[in-house]
Amino acid sequence: MELIVQGIIKAFELIISFDPEVLGITWLSLKISGTATLISLIIGVSIGTAVALNNFFGKRLVISLINTGMGLPPVVVGLFVTILIWRNGPFGFLGILYTPTAMIIAQAIIATPIVMGISLAAIQNLPPNLRLQILSLGASRLQLVWVLIKEARLPLLAAVMAGFGGVISEVGASIMVGGNIKGYSRVLTTATVMETSKGNFDIAIALGLILLLLAFVINFLLTQIQQRQKLR
């Protein structure tokens, strides 16, 4: 119990004193997971919408695969990304193992199926007549997709939150492809793991609390945007 109190006090100390190292780690977490979420958003929403709007052979199989991907274990992603991008691997020439770029790639792979699955369900959940109505008003195909995405904005923002939440809290892949290098690829989750194994439980608790706070602020902002529409 005493330890938890110590951790909370430490967290406040670290936040209030603007500890440059903690600040850097927090900012890096935000940058990496934000970029990964953005990439997953572009890929996930477009493919999710395409799958939802088209009928083709094997559609159910594809949807099952996407839904399975929503539970992709981060360590497995980390392992495969590591093997693919290490020096003597097929993408070794890029030289990106143990860099923030590698972490963005791994996190984007984790977040993409999550965003894809939710956007797929969101678009499928729209009333079927809506499509006919929009088309009958003379919309082009691109305009149709755009209107549908706008209509499904609520669940799509939920997709963003789920994707972001999935990657900002992820540690397995980040530590494998990023290497937890001080001042370079150390993020909140990997730092928490390291401080725990060092026995600095107060700092670990503090980092954990900062991570929670960060996730809360981001989700609060996104929820603001999401719910504004509803209250109108």
Partner: protein
Amino acid sequence: MLKHLKPTTVFYIVLVAFITLCGFICFFNGKTSSKQNAIILATTTSTQDSGLLDTLIPIFEKQTGYFVKTIAVGSGAAMAMGREGEADVLLVHSPDAEKKLVEEGYGINRRIVMHNDFIIVGPGSDPAKIKSVKSSAEALKMIAKTGSLFLSRGDHSGTDAKEKTLWKKANINPAGQKWYQETGLGMGQTLGIAAEKKGYTLTDRGTYLSMKKNLNLDILVEGDADLLNIYHVMEVNSTKWPKVNAAGAKAFADFMVSKQTQGIIKTFGIDKFGSPLFFPDAGKKMED
């Protein structure tokens, strides 16, 4: 109409801001660390967890301009990275496996850096009564005989390798025994589990000292010659793996055995723990 547009406008603005921000990030990410200057150092967790590398590496980086990527894993994993050419330089403490790596030609220029020692720790109540025994082999025999809980790393780290040799020396095969549990975790976490479960474990002194305040474990066996913990630095052979940064690896290995670094190692930890965590050994032979 204006009212109707507002939330969507906000949405676009946020989206555009987000994209711009990420554009900048990608730009910044792109320009960090050129390949030439980066060295991958694969090492054991104890050198990182004790804070030694946090002290040494900034000095090295400032002196040479290299950028060190420290990957702290067990000695086994570190040497596997060396064997695959995925690291440039290794700082490890698993002498038998190191010799093998050198014999196979993957590791070159292996040099001694420092040592500290292993200790057997356990609960103060000491159910196996090992505190009175002199040698580590004797202590392990007692633990086995009384069936007292022993926590093993079980992760092919240097500590794990040392533990396996000690069991061998005591003529006991603990694998599969009920009182013998493998954590598969790092030293710090294994110590935490030993403390929680009131079990015995083998640890390097540095990690134990740096975590002592949170543990309810006492040093029960120490000072045995078998318990010596020796760290070596070696470079990965660039003729086997052309992508290895040979110059950088050599620079780092030279730095580790330099007079200045050895001096820092000598005093490291005194201010925090009252005694040094490592003893510099550069230039000595392992037999000394």
